[in-house]
């Protein structure tokens, strides 16, 4: 009797709280409008062909969890992470693709017979790319039921917690957008269940976003940070094409070392130029829009017209371009995001065990390409790790195998989020042609391309560059041959105590 009364009382308290809050006060929620004032068309579910200056593009959405998880190091060690995990595009992420979706996919409701399980899609093989937790807004229509209830970002927290807890990825979920897209990125903080002593907020820093607002820059000191149990939707108009990256900005030496690092790139509108049309004409047309023109007086003008005229380059069939080059110089057949990172096993052990952490003597012993050390870098498909919940999770979805079609070119979008030191990556065989640095085309203000060949690149945490591996000479690079990317920091060719591994992967000519 007493307990029933208490139950009733609590029910009333909860009910009052719920009803007293406005709709926007829902703690977990996602946002993915199907149209906006910038993209007013009813359908923004595909990239339109380039027609001329102005914003075209589409709408893209993604949901990620902020929490924790486990990954497997090259020596087999199970390592604790502070980590982001996928809460949209689960299936695509497991396939090594970006989890970024058009509204039609993001806003699709999960209709599987069995609810999403911890570890999904590893657990049940579910094929679902929508926003985990999304349900019709049952509070609409005066609560009259599901008939016609709008899908407006309301979520059921149960699947979010089932899927998001202990489901960290290394690197964090891949993001890819196209110039002129509006990007709605929802961060949902599910807490770190292995560290109940922590009350860690998380944020997203879109590293390199030009002319950023402080509000969406993800620096907790300069903006807001998202508490456990809350969702926050970051809003970006896709900036200039290039290889950016993202990470949490809470206590960076800790959260970055512990694994809250991810990849993100922006594809150029030049990809959308109809096949056979002039690339130079498209880039010239963009000079008519002050947002994208390159004025000679603008010290930060990022993408001048190429010097060579007349310029006959046209949009090739298939493949893509890294930048709006206007001359086809950044063309590639296949693209691979490669993120360099390092883990200090001592720091990760301390990070799991409630002890004070030291920063000054942080020393990485695992050297990672896309969250994996050799030989895991050449293992196909997602790597699984059993987490503390006893369930296998897709911990490291991205292999680092560079597959180049014979006679083709591969774009490597290389970023580095190491927290301790500079790392060098070298190519044995195919020269590295560096075409961009820090998400900007290498071109001087007179229009000369400044791309250069090298056999190695060196990056610190917080840097990125674009490399093209040109295998178009099929005599030198015949089908079936294998080349290597490895680090000449020879002590980084190790997996902690194992002396062969670390920062290395294969380039395969198919």
């Amino acid at each position: 009797m007493t307990s029933r009364k208490l139950d009733t009382l609590w029910f009333l308290v909860v009910l009052v709280c719920v009803t007293a809050l406005p709709a926007t006060a829902q703690s977990f929620m996602v946002q993915c409008p199907t149209s906006t004032i910038t993209h007013p068309a009813p359908n923004n579910n595909s990239e339109p062909a380039y027609t001329g200056p102005g914003v075209n593009g589409a709408i893209k959405c993604q949901q990620i969890s902020g929490g924790d998880g486990y990954a497997t190091m090259g020596d087999g060690t199970q390592t604790y992470l502070f980590a982001f995990g996928p809460l949209s595009g689960l299936y695509d992420i497991a396939q090594g693709k970006p989890g970024t979706q058009f509204p039609s996919v993001f806003n699709s409701l999960y209709t599987g017979a069995t609810p999403l399980q911890p570890g999904d899609p590893a657990t049940t093989g579910t094929i679902y790319n929508g926003a985990v937790g999304l349900i019709p807004n049952l509070d609409a229509n005066n609560g009259s039921g599901t008939a016609g209830a709008p899908v407006d970002g309301h979520v059921d927290p149960r699947p979010i917690m089932d899927v998001g807890v202990m489901n960290g990825n290394l690197p964090a979920p891949l993001m890819a957008i196209d110039e002129d897209d509006e990007f709605f990125l929802t961060l949902t903080n599910v807490g770190q269940i292995m560290r109940p002593d922590l009350f860690e907020q998380h944020t997203v820093h879109f590293h390199g976003y030009p002319n950023a607002s402080a509000f969406y820059d993800g620096v907790p000191d300069a903006s807001v940070a998202i508490n456990i149990g809350g969702s926050f939707t970051y809003y970006y108009l896709a900036p200039d094409a290039g290889t950016y990256f993202w990470h949490c900005h809470i206590t960076p030496p800790e959260h970055l070392q512990m694994g809250m690092v991810g990849q993100m790139y922006v594809r150029p509108r030049q990809n959308r130029v109809p096949i056979g049309n002039s690339l130079y004409s498209a880039l010239s047309a963009q000079q008519g829009d002050p947002r994208t023109k390159c004025d000679s007086a603008d010290i930060l003008c990022s993408n001048p017209l190429p010097l060579t005229t007349p310029n006959t380059a046209t949009r090739a069939a298939g493949g893509g371009y890294a930048y709006n080059d206007g001359d086809g110089s950044t063309y590639y057949n296949v693209e691979y995001p490669i993120q360099i990172h390092g883990f200090d096993p001592n720091f990760h052990f301390v990070g799991m065990t409630f002890n004070p952490e030291g920063f000054a003597d942080m020393k990485d012993k695992h050297f990672l390409l896309n969250g994996r050390s050799y030989p895991d870098t050449v293992t196909e498909g997602p790597l699984q790790t059993q987490s503390a919940d006893g369930v296998n999770h897709y911990s490291q979805p991205l292999p680092s195998i560079i597959n180049i079609p014979a006679g083709g070119k591969a774009l490597l979008r290389i970023s580095d989020l190491d927290t301790t030191e500079y790392q060098t990556l070298a190519s044995l065989g195919i020269p590295m042609n560096v075409i961009g640095i820090n998400a900007k085309l290498l071109r001087d203000q007179a229009g000369n391309n400044l791309n250069y060949n090298t056999n190695s690149i060196t990056l610190a945490g917080g840097e990125s560059l674009d490399v093209i591996l040109d295998a178009s000479d099929t005599t030198k690079y015949p089908s079936g041959s294998v080349f290597y990317l490895y680090t000449p920091n020879l002590d980084h060719l190790s997996n902690d105590a194992e002396n062969f591994g670390g920062l290395m992967t294969e380039v395969r000519i198919n």
């Binding site: 914003v55 509006e182 002319n211 402080a214 939707t233 030496p253 002050p290 002890n355 000054a360 610190a460």
Partner: protein, 529 residues
Amino acid sequence: MRATNMKNTISKAMLHLAPMAAVAWLLTATAYAAAPGITGTTFNLTAQPAFISQPDGTAIYSWGYGCSTGFAPTFTPGNIPNAACPTMQVPGPTLIVTEGQSVSVTLTNGLPAAAGNTSILFPGFNVTATGGTTGLLTQEAAPGGSVTYTFTASSPGTRAYYSGTQGDLQVEMGLYGAIIVLPASVPSECNSGLASANLAAKAAWGESDYRLAHAAYDHPRTCYDREYLFQFSEIDPIIHTQAFAQSTKVCPGSSSGCMQVATEPYHPAYFMINGRSMPDDMDTNYATQYPHQPYNGNPHMHPGEQVLLRIIGQGRWQHPFHEHGNHVRILGRDGNLILSTSDSATTPALAGPLLFTTTTTPGQAMDGIFYWTGKGLNWDAYGHNPSSADSSAKLPCTPDANGYNTSAPTAINYYEWCQDHNKPMQATPLGDVAGGGPVTLPDPNIFANGAWFGGSPYLGPNATVRAVGSTGTTPPSGTIANSPTDEAGFAFMWHSHNEREITTNNVFPGGMLMMMLVDSREFVIDESN
């Protein structure tokens, strides 16, 4: 308390304490950076020991260059109060000279005799050394002795100077500084057009000019409106402790002294910008509490201002200096302007890269230009509202050829990006900021607000107060470092992206970190204090 909770308690407490310490200073004396130093053609410097301070309370025995007793330097910019040049400072005095001048630097060795000789290298200049004793790289000053270095300031730009004697120890101990060469002739473009409009905007709000020159090089693309100098270095406290312990050793007759200090293995625990760790770096220039660390690192700017960054790696390590907010155009390195090789124009186009992370390299300097305008956000950062009763909310935006509102230097939205004018960000109205935009802002109660959060998504006090009121979003924040009613700037963290270097002796936050603020025009940036 269980030991297992210590990590959390320590780091979180510091997270709040350190910004609050910074807040306290910011409230007592707002501190902006400029690039202060001493100017002239003859400099009498001394190398001496002293203790410098760190924000964890540690006093670290160091060696630094300073002004010799009796040498009365000319300070520039002249309108910064409390300017001083002590006999020891870290970094050493910033020497500001003009292209073509003959410069003479006399160094007197005031280091402990046990440290042996010392010297200064001026890489990039053709130096003649007179007096002193012969050393490996240059003429050196023996303990108590002097040496004079003479050179012509052959080309403009920022460069490092540092000890050329036992560099592994002496540079680590603090014997380094910056020399800035100003161009002999400033291109006319730097005093007309947008450059003069920006100056008029400054004047309209009573802001003074703290530039050393109006251009970094003899090139019209190097005009600038503000400038800041950042010198990156590290300290391994064990080296300094050893040096202090041996500083009184007696070793007659040895030019290299007789210290036996192990400079390897190297484990730095302090990571500094201009000799200070965060939050001390955001305190004022010449602040009396740091008698041997006179220079700060605390950049402020208005939208559209061209801001010259002079960046030097003075330590042993490289540091990836990440500038949040926008890219930096590298103009030149070590005083060498990077120009297009194919451009036959009389002023060839720039060819330096655009970087969002400007890696510092030991001994190397670079000059770059940064600006912030908000272009491309796709929402009105000023939260303009054409149906507001507030006239400031209804200001027009008249695009110039590049799309900016530059025809109204006295307006608070001078240099606004006009394509996004009146474009809403939020789906529903927030206070006196209109709705209709793409984003729904969640309940502020699920956020934690930062000390430099301006109180709303918007730029400037007018927009912020119209959006969310005088205290900003909850919790009410009258004590933050970026008050909603006064400043409400956009704050951006500028820091080393080798993230362990934004700590002070294992405590976060600290080290190589500062907050750069983009302020709307209502907020008066006063670099004088």
